[in-house]
Amino acid sequence: MPLNLATLDSDTPRTTDGRAYPDHLRAYESLDADLLPLAALLGEFTYDDIALRVHSGKVRSVLPRWLASAEWRGLIERRDPEMASVRVNAITPRGVARLERI
């Protein structure tokens, strides 16, 4: 289900069918400062691409949660080249704007 773009500036982004940003992901927003610069540097990236460049064990161990949180907030988006391919992410203009405010 796609994100409802009108809700991205709110505290609780929602999908177009009304599902809300899960509360348990909020704790990972503090990692934006560590991980958004890496996402910007990499352009398009797979999970392994970014994991290889995270040197803090604590940050790397929760990387899946940060990726989910960032996707929910519209900071990164899926750019899979085809249906049957490994997941590819990329930073969005919203993500770049967030990075500039950090």
Binding site: M1, R19, D48, R53, S61, P64, V86
Partner: protein
């Protein structure tokens, strides 16, 4: 930018192999032998297995992966080395996530897996896999997992429980979130929990239900196999109950979950 060299770390300066303290996953993908022996569908089965392991959330066999792995017939071995910046708890929690993602990735293609996670000395490099942690994970998978679940060694559980003792909200730790305790007291990975991070988990949960129902129907005359998928159905229903989504349950009178959360004793 410097990059971690997970594979290179398993050899010393002279190129000699060495053991590193690792979290090790040994995972047996169920039914792979049957798929390989199925003359009519083996080519297609190979494509499906490749897709399940490499073309979804992550490529679990990538040469450049931070988690060195090896596929041995129907079993996958994945390692996560600990180090100065990566303690036992971080490595274990990371492996819980990686295993959950892998189990979901496999299940979404109709593959269910049974496995175990241990921690200890391990070596994986250039096609060679060796070490006591691998042996322990293999033995646990073989003797304790029984059902399509990934269980943890006693040491791994002790490390994670000890970490929970030092935090103000133990129920909010990664391990409390991603682990579940079965009716026989065995701790296993609550892989469907990973779905809750997704923007759209409900379709995936519906698909999981359909796949488990199909497996139950397919194995109804093979009681040993059927029992394994009954366990998956019980786990699925337990998850739906926690999610308050009774509409997504598997409707079968023989399926009755009784699991508990992972907590301090």
């Amino acid at each position: 930018m410097p990059e971690a060299e997970p594979r290179g770390a398993f050899v010393d300066e002279d190129g000699a192999p060495r053991l590193l303290r690792c979290v090790v996953l040994f995972l047996d993908i169920l039914g792979v032998s049957d798929l390989a022996l199925d003359r009519a569908r083996r080519d297609r089965n190979l494509v499906e297995l490749d897709r399940a392991l490499r073309r979804s959330s992550r490529d679990f066999l990538s040469e450049d992966s931070p988690w060195p792995s090896a596929l041995l017939s129907d079993s996958l071995v994945v390692a996560d080395a600990t180090g100065p910046d990566f303690d036992d708890v971080a490595a274990l929690n990371e492996m819980l996530f990686q295993t959950g993602i892998l189990q979901l990735q496999l299940a979404s293609h109709g593959f269910f897996a049974r496995g175990a996670i241990s921690i200890g000395p391990h070596h994986v490099h250039d096609g060679m896999v060796f070490g006591p942690a691998l042996v322990e994970a293999y033995r646990l998978e073989n003797r304790k997992a029984v059902n399509p679940r990934v269980v943890l060694s006693r040491e791994a559980c002790e490390i994670l429980r000890s970490d929970m003792e030092g935090v103000s909200a133990p129920g909010e730790t990664t391990q409390a979130d991603l682990l579940r305790v079965d009716q026989d007291g065995v701790v296993f990975i609550d892989y469907l929990k990973v779905l809750l991070d997704e923007v759209d988990p409900i379709d995936d949960l519906r698909r999981h239900r359909s796949l488990v129902e199909a497996k139950l129907a397919e194995t109804r005359n093979e009681s040993r196999k059927w029992g394994k998928y009954r366990w998956v159905a019980e786990y699925h229903n337990d998850f739906c109950e926690r999610l308050d989504r009774d509409d997504l349950r598997i409707d079968n009178p023989d399926v009755s979950p009784g699991f508990q959360g992972f907590s301090l004793p």
